[in-house]
Every structure is written in C-alpha cells, then in structure tokens.
C-alpha cells in the first residue's frame, strides 16, 4: 500500500469529511437558512403586516414597555427589539431554551398582532449553533465539528493544490458520474474556499471556550488568585430572570432614552432594550456595521438618567467584533445577505457532493457491507430528508390550526418526525440493497411537497398577494426551485438501473 503524503491526506479528508460531514451538512444548511431568519419568521407569521416605517411612536414604545412588564410578571426575562429595515415591527421576546419568541407589536399604535405561535426562522438558527441541544452540549459538539471541518478543508487543499489553478472552474457534468460529482465538489470548494474558511473559523472561534476552557486541567497549574467574575456587557442568554416578587417601578418614556442612547453611542439606530429591576440597558443596532458590538448605555429605571455607557475600543476588541460580525452577518445590505445565502448553499452542495463521492468510491469494494449500507441510508436521510423536513415545517405552519395548544412545538415535531421517517426509510432501503429506490421515492415526495407549498400557501388564504407580498413570493419561489431540482435528479436516477 502506497504511503505517500497525498494518500495520507486523502484518507484523512475522506474519513473526517464523511463522518463530520453527516452533521456539518445540516449545520451549514440551517446556517444558510438563518441568514434570512427574520424573513422566514415573517413568512411564517403572515398576520404581521410589514408596511410601516421603522420608527416607533411613543405610544407604541409605551405599549411595548407594558407588554414587557406583563411578560416579566410571568417570570420570563423579556426584552424589546426595536423596528429595523429588515423587520419593521416591535418584538417583545424571551428565550424559551431554544428560540427567542414573543408577541409582535405594531410600531405605530403598539397593538399586538394576532400572530400564530411559531418558532419561525429562529428554529434554524438554534439548530445551526446548538443542534437543539442547548448552549453547553450542543455548542460544544458544533465547535468540535468546526475544527473537524477546518482539518478537512486543510487536507483538501493539500490534495488538490497542484490542480487548483489550472482546474479552477473545470466542471464536466456530462462526463462519467464519479468525475462529474468530483468536479462539482472541487468547483464549489475552490470558488467558495474563502467563504468556507471564514465561516468555519469564525463559527469555531465564537464558541471556542466550549472546547478550550480557560482553566488548567491539572491542580499543579492552578493560579493563586481565585477566579473573579468577568466584567462584560450582558448577552441575551446570560442574564437571569428578575424575581416575580421584585417591585418594579414604572418605566420612564423610552423614546427620549433611545434618542439619548443614539447620541452617546453615535449610532443611527438602537436595537435591544433590556430591563432589570433598577436599570434599562439600550444596545446599538447589530446592522450598524460589519463589527458586531455590544456597546450599550445604561439608564436608571426610576428617573431615566444615564448611569453609564460601555463602548469597547482597542484593536483586540475590534478584531473580536469583526470575527463575530463576519459570522452573524447582520448587515443591512440585501445584496451581501444574498451572497452569503448563495455561498452557504454552495458550501452545502460541497459537503453533500463529498458524501456522495465517498459512497461512490467505496461501493465496488464495500457495497455489500452493513456499515456501508448504513452510511448510504443515513446519507439519503440527510440529503433528501432534511429538505423534506424543512418543507414539512412550512406545510405545518400553514395547515396547523391557529388556536391549537402548543402549536409551535407541534410544528417542530412535524419537522423531526418527517426527518426521522426519511432516515428510517433510507436505512431500510439501503439495508435491503434497494438504495436507488429509496433515493427515488424520497425525491418524488420532496418534489411533490416543495412544488405544492405555494399551492398550500395560496389555498390557506393566510395573506394577500398584492401588498407586502415580496416575502411570500421569494420563499415560495425558492422552495419551488428545490422541488424542480429534486424532480430533475429523480428523472436522472430513473434512467439508471437500480
């Protein structure tokens, strides 16, 4: 057996790529959808009309403050997000362990929209960064997989570096199948390499503490000074709920406080308003620039005077803000957000094609082995099952009754049930040596569901199609394109022997 550098790197790339890729494909796919999490939430809450200017009135702010107090009475740590260009409504949100959810208010008069209970685009965001397993276990797994991805990328570059320049955009879709799939893998990998490295690295850095804890493993390395609580601006998830029994003073008008915060922070807009028993904290908007800051101004809750402001400066702080900003991509520019989306799609195709290539290369030698068939079953459940489950989530959003109890949980259950069925079906077909029929059957179902979503959307009369309808056309069109792609792949597979 040849023991050359390329062979070693090829082995590393294949195995780390496949084993980690089974989960990384989900992470990348849901991350791609998270780029438009607000827009997906707007699609899933058609009761919320969006044709308002993004500047809230004093009446709306007062109603938002009252709604926040009412939520806090229920022991929920609620906070306010102010309207923006992307999301021109006021939201009073709280964290339920997975998503930020809560009532939606009109920025003109503060009335609460009768929006349906749904996780919205936040569901994909939570799946992306924590696999719906919480900030400790889930985030640690995702961070470890991020390191695996960086290793796979590095080994991929090592294998392909000689041919990278001449074969920069070489793609032969009409050639032999393994060659076509390899070209698809290489073209997406090389062209989107800067994006892939940037997102993997920044994503891993954000939660690096999960895998590189800043305390020694061995007692001999202990420092003498006891660890002190770090002074840092509070993040959304780190602040605990105020006790229900705490006496809360009436909130001063928020409008002048927001204006003052904008002046102090030298920001065009502010976004978050957090309440504690004695303080009101107003944060700079995330879409202000590429740098994701947590600059804030703290006001007294009793009379609204400024207590302090926190503006991080310095090269180290700016570097970290840049790393966060590059990953979270909360820019206001539509074009850049679409570029992120397309790049994320391309990277998902990169990983999917890698999984298919892994199976193709080993089918002849190991096709009858039980582990190979399990791997193929899981791949079917992932590459077709995940889009199927996502489409199912959208169907459930339109079809489940609005007044249903635990409606949000029901939507999520539909997602996971569909995915589980798909994975089970894929495994059964693969273990029975009828993997091709498994692929075809699931592709037909995906095509039907994806092409049928706009029909369901129209038939359920959830919204109008003339005013404020861009969000519906866009999402329905993208899902239809997915259905068409599934149909084309199904047609190609139908021509091949099982």
């Amino acid at each position: 057996m040849r023991e050359t550098f390329r062979v070693h790197m090829g082995w590393l790339h294949s195995w780390v790529g496949f084993l980690a890729g089974l989960v990384l494909t989900c992470i990348f796919a849901t991350g791609t959808l998270s780029v438009f999490d607000k827009e997906i939430t707007q699609w899933m809450q058609p009761e919320v009309t969006l044709d308002h200017p993004p500047a809230p009135t004093p009446l709306a702010l007062q109603r938002a403050a009252e709604t926040t107090m009412a939520e806090q009475e229920k022991d929920l740590f609620a906070f306010i997000t102010l309207p923006s260009l992307r999301d021109p409504v006021i939201r009073v949100l709280h964290y339920d362990g997975h998503e930020f959810i809560g009532p939606v208010l009109d920025p003109v008069d503060g009335h609460i929209f009768p929006a349906r209970a749904t996780a919205g685009g936040q569901f994909f965001y939570d799946f992306h960064f924590a696999l719906r397993n919480g900030p400790v276990v889930g985030c640690t797994i995702v961070t470890l997989l991020g390191v695996c991805l960086l290793v796979a990328v590095g080994s991929g570059i090592a294998i392909h570096i000689k041919a990278m320049w001449p074969d920069l955009i070489l793609f032969r879709p009409f050639g032999p199948r393994p060659r076509a799939w390899l070209d698809a893998h290489l073209v997406t990998g090389v062209l989107f390499l800067p994006f892939l490295i940037m997102m993997s690295y920044t994503g891993t850095v954000i939660r690096a503490r999960g895998i590189l804890p800043p305390h020694p493993f061995l007692p001999a390395q202990q420092t003498e000074a006891p660890p002190a609580a770090a002074a840092s601006p509070p993040a959304k998830t780190n602040v605990s709920a105020p006790p229900a029994s705490a006496i809360r003073p009436p909130t001063p008008p928020l409008g002048p406080l927001i204006a003052q915060a904008q002046q102090i922070l030298q920001a065009e807009r502010c976004e978050l308003i957090l309440f504690s028993p004695t303080q009101i904290r107003i944060f700079r908007s995330d879409d202000a620039s590429l740098f994701l800051t947590r600059d804030l101004v703290t006001f007294s809750r009793t009379d609204g005077h400024v207590i302090s402001s926190f503006i991080q400066k310095g090269a180290a702080a700016r570097t970290l803000e840049l790393l966060h900003g590059l990953h979270y991509a909360r820019f206001s520019s539509d074009l850049l957000r679409w570029l992120y989306f397309l790049s994320g799609l391309a990277c998902t195709v990169l990983m999917g094609s890698g999984l298919v290539l892994f199976l193709m290369k080993r089918r002849k030698a190991s096709g009858q082995k039980i582990l190979f068939r399990t791997a193929e079953g899981l791949t079917i459940g992932l590459l077709v099952g995940l889009p199927l489950a996502i489409t199912g989530l959208f169907w459930a959003n339109r079809l489940l009754p609005l007044s249903m109890n635990a409606r949000m949980e029901a939507e999520i259950q539909v997602f996971f049930m569909l995915w589980a069925f798909s994975a089970l079906h894929g495994l059964i077909c693969a273990l029975r040596n009828t993997a091709y029929s498994g692929w075809r059957a699931q592709l037909v179902v995906l095509a039907f569901m994806a092409l049928g979503l706009p029909v369901v959307d129209g038939l359920t009369h959830s919204h109008g199609w003339l005013q404020d309808a861009g969000r519906y056309y866009t999402l329905d069109a993208l899902v239809m394109l997915t259905g068409l792609a599934a149909l084309i792949v199904f047609q190609k597979l139908r021509r091949q022997p099982s």
């Binding site: 057996m1 023991e3 550098f5 070693h8 790197m9 082995w11 590393l12 390191v147 960086l150 290793v151 990328v153 590095g154 080994s155 090592a158 690295y201 891993t204 850095v205 690096a208 503490r209 590189l212 800043p214 305390h215 020694p216 493993f217 390395q221 420092t223 000074a225 660890p227 002190a228 770090a230 002074a231 840092s232 310095g314 180290a316 702080a317 570097t319 970290l320 790393l323």
Partner: protein, 110 residues
C-alpha cells in the same frame, strides 16, 4: 513443494488476505498517528490559552478570547502538521517540542 505452489488460486487468495491485513494495519497506524497529532495539537492550543490566562489574569476576558482565537486558528494547522509530516515523524516531534516548551514557559514565566 508446498500446496500453495501447486494451487495458484490458493496463492492468489493468500496474497489478497495478506494485502487486506497489511491495509488494515496501515489504517490502524494512521488512526494512531492522527490521535497522537490531535492530542499534542490540542495540548498546545490549551497551553496557549493558559498563557493568556496566567499572564493577564482570569478577569481579562478580552485577552483570553484573543488567545482562543489564535489557538483555534493554530489547532487544525498543528493537527495537519503532526499527521502529514511523517518522514522520521518530524511533525509529531515538532509538536512535542512546542508543547513541552509552552508548558515549561507557562510554569516559569506566567
């Protein structure tokens, strides 16, 4: 004359079996090499973070986070170095020396 010489099919099967076991041994060797490279690279990353904690104090979250950013950038590169540089195992030796040096440095000059 041994049976395998008189029976070419048996000789072919024996060669295939020995190739399979050689391949299996090569895979186990690679896995062990990768595990060693990963452990050493991870220790190096950990010592980097600890250097920032010991040098700046645990309250200085910014310094620790910057060290984590550097450590995460180096971690996959070190794994690839330890695993890929196989001639005389110089990749693993480099990692070992770096780890040892960093551990000593943290001990002597926190």
């Amino acid at each position: 004359m041994p049976d395998t010489a008189r029976k070419p099919f048996a000789r072919h099967t024996a060669a295939a079996v020995s190739r399979q076991s050689e391949k299996r041994r090569a895979v186990y060797r690679r896995m062990a090499w990768l595990a060693a490279a990963t452990v050493l690279a991870y220790l190096m990353a950990h010592f980097l973070v600890m250097h920032a904690v010991l040098g700046n104090g645990p309250e200085n979250r910014l310094a620790t986070t910057m060290a984590e950013a550097v450590a995460i950038a180096l971690l996959p590169l070190l794994i690839l170095l330890g695993y890929g540089a196989r001639t005389h195992a110089w990749g693993l030796w480099v990692l070992l020396v770096l780890c040892g040096g960093m551990a000593l440095y943290n001990r002597i000059a926190p």
